[in-house]
Symmetry: C2
Subunit: 244 residues, 2 copies
Amino acid sequence: MPKKGDDKTSAPVELKCKVDDDSEWRTLNGDQVELFNAAVNCRSYKAGETVFMQDDPCKGLYIIESGMIAVRKMDSEGRTAVIRLGYPGDSLGYRPLLAKENHRASAEVTKDSRVCFVDAKTTWQLISKNPDLGLRFLERIAKAMGEVESRFFEVAALSVRVRLVHLLILLRDKCGRFSTDGTLVLELPLTRQDLASMIGARPESVSRAFHDLKEDGLASSSGRQVHVTQYKRLIEELHSNISV
Amino acid sequence: MPKKGDDKTSAPVELKCKVDDDSEWRTLNGDQVELFNAAVNCRSYKAGETVFMQDDPCKGLYIIESGMIAVRKMDSEGRTAVIRLGYPGDSLGYRPLLAKENHRASAEVTKDSRVCFVDAKTTWQLISKNPDLGLRFLERIAKAMGEVESRFFEVAALSVRVRLVHLLILLRDKCGRFSTDGTLVLELPLTRQDLASMIGARPESVSRAFHDLKEDGLASSSGRQVHVTQYKRLIEELHSNISV
DNA sequence: CGCCAGGTTGATTTCGCTCAAGCAATGTGG
DNA sequence: CCACATTGCTTGAGCGAAATCAACCTGGCG
């Protein structure tokens, strides 16, 4: 009978919390996994709860096991904008942690979620024990940076309609599926308000953009459900307007 | 008489290329500095030359010793926008290097410059020999990311005038000086076109914004020289509009 | 000189924001 | 179970900021 710790090549210790296969945490070896597991603290959140608040010091980072979390930024006038959506396997709060800054945004639970917390000290310990973890963060954040820079371009140069189309296509992976007749069905996890904020627009403008898309026979929306009838043409519209 | 390599605490080997005191490269120790020096390749560029091109693979990173370099992004329609200005001590191209991506922008020499090149392989070697170098990059890029995310907010919500004011204030450190009578004199290193692209506007709108600022007695511009007569009021205008 | 790129200015248009009303879906308390 | 708030979505009217289009300066420079 195989004893615990007997096996050599296969992972002897499992990470206590579920992450993507390509997650940076996969780089941890036995000892480090144990350190991780000893420190990690998982709990459930109800929709509407707040994981962390803007301007709070960053105490560590959060790994989403299940559910969905919206990261929003608020300005002094109380206007708010969603800047990222977190899905299972994603990490939140790593930017302020690595930058040694306070949180620049709040994380708000959108669907009941299970989230694991790893304190900053442990994270830094792990990074120093296993520099590869740091490099993975480096790569990830560098990629994310490229995305943000590109989107910056976009807001300035493109119409609300095109920005909306782009967002829909980005959301496809996470909350879309193709039905049998080839139409793409998106189950948007956000209010119009939040949707609008993600592309730097007002909800009314988004409504009108949806209206126009319907008029052109590209897509129709009812509430938070969007049916993209002409996915190909939608992509084309994007490509004829976007550089990347 | 002290022999070469005699001293213990003071840096025995100098970096072959001039960097800021707080540069990430300062973390390198003797061996690593030598590796760096062996690999680094400095040369001069004339204004107008290109250091690297958008979409080219990233072969390494560039350290600006002197001069000035504009980093611009171009879209499929040929519209171009300046996304960053590089000054002596800055590094360019580290984002694509770390993200293992191609360049997402071009670097164009604006004033005659001297630039040092460190190939990717050496950079990765140095990072693995000295994880602290990686951590410094991590921190820097994480901070930069926060900045970009904040500016995202700005483009969508603020008027051209306020965005221009903000840019002027950001440029103050690099190309501004206070004259004896307290006015701030900025020597802008850019055409109106480029200036406009940095804030997501058209050159005509920037012209009009300058016109308005002059009318309000805040600043006056003649060509690329801007005189800010009421620096305090300019700052106030900013603070009453910006969240951060 | 004339040329030309960069800059300003003016006239017009357009896009998206504001404000306001109406509607549907959902919740809540009597 | 119904009257009613509440919340999110849509639509319309009006407006304003900035883009577009176009003309006209201005200052180098061959």
